[in-house]
Symmetry: C3
Subunit: 150 residues, 3 copies
């Protein structure tokens, strides 16, 4: 089975998956960092490991923390869709060109989306989101063509 590592679509999917997982881990790491900076914690037990004047978050998080969380959550809403389709695309024998456009397109759009989300830049956030979603639609179309015609 290890011959798959020579398949160009699989190779691309592997690299894009690693980039997207790293992006998600970075966004996940920023949340507690921002929380610590603003001295707010949502779990009472977290207070014990910090020093001094930390306070409990009751209800709402600091706006800066909430923004990172929204960017992270938005990524987590589309990542499983990409992962759910990615290997199916590769294993269905759909065209390599489509993989290059959709895999790279989705990955680049999601990285740009997170950057503009954190910096509150509109209408780019919506544009990058839409382009990433188009890549998912493209994968769906090419998968269905491959399995229904095959």
């Amino acid at each position: 089975m290890s011959m798959l590592s020579a398949d160009p679509s699989f190779k691309l999917l592997a690299i894009c998956s690693c980039v997207l997982v790293l992006e998600s881990l970075v966004l996940a790491g920023i949340t507690p960092a921002k929380r610590a900076k603003h001295k707010g914690f949502i779990n009472p037990e977290d207070n014990r490991v910090s020093f001094g004047e930390a306070r409990m978050v009751d209800g709402a998080e600091h706006p800066e923390v909430a923004r990172v969380q929204r960017a992270h959550r938005n990524l987590l809403e589309s990542l499983p869709l990409f992962f759910g389709l990615g290997l199916v695309y590769v294993l269905s024998g759909a065209p390599v060109l489509g993989a290059q456009v959709c895999f790279i397109g989705f990955t680049v759009m999601r990285v740009l989306h997170a950057i503009v989300y954190l910096n509150a830049v509109q209408p780019w956030r919506t544009i990058f989101y839409a382009l990433g979603t188009f890549c998912l639609f493209g994968m769906i179309a090419l998968i269905l063509r491959a399995v229904l015609a095959g």
Copy 2:
């Protein structure tokens, strides 16, 4: 590797995955549509692209928006589980009949679940959720049988 597109379990998984991704994208698209309708935005920068009397959402979303989000979030909580098990099921050589029951069952139940969630119909929401979860349990049982006996 492209011979997988002739495998009946794989074919079914590909189609079900596409349907579920489409469902998730539809629910994701309804959220901003409802937000725009109720003139509420959660990101300050979104206000600039709308006209006139839009207001910032501080804390709680409009109940209709919150309902779509809950339906979407509920889908996103089970979709990765299905995607995580789906290809493992196909590649483990578990029976095709089980794939037909569990893949189609899960997909149909999750589509129905979203419909009744948006329309606030109980006890059907709980019933469809439970039946979808049973399909996941079925996949787990058949995967374990295939890899532990194989």
Copy 3:
């Protein structure tokens, strides 16, 4: 293709995936159980199926319910990352030893993480989270080595 069920990395991934999906379903099941115990519901239609003195949750959930939800959400944030990398790892032909360390390591850490999260034990929660994340980094490194060198 069913020969994959004899591949030791695949076998391990299948078992770990089943354990993680079960863990997620257990956490998903605890939420409504705790909500029922504290007689709070977030969907108005749920009230009809309960008896007597149930009340609507307006805004905040009971702290105990909110804690289960945070533990569940935390799991759901890392599960898709593991599923997205897991099969890519196996199909890339990356070493079996790495699969044994990372797959088992991630699964054990995530189960322990949920247990200490529900019991509010720090600093173990952060330690188990970090160790689980290290396993993902390990998978990324070994996948990239396999596909870039292969």
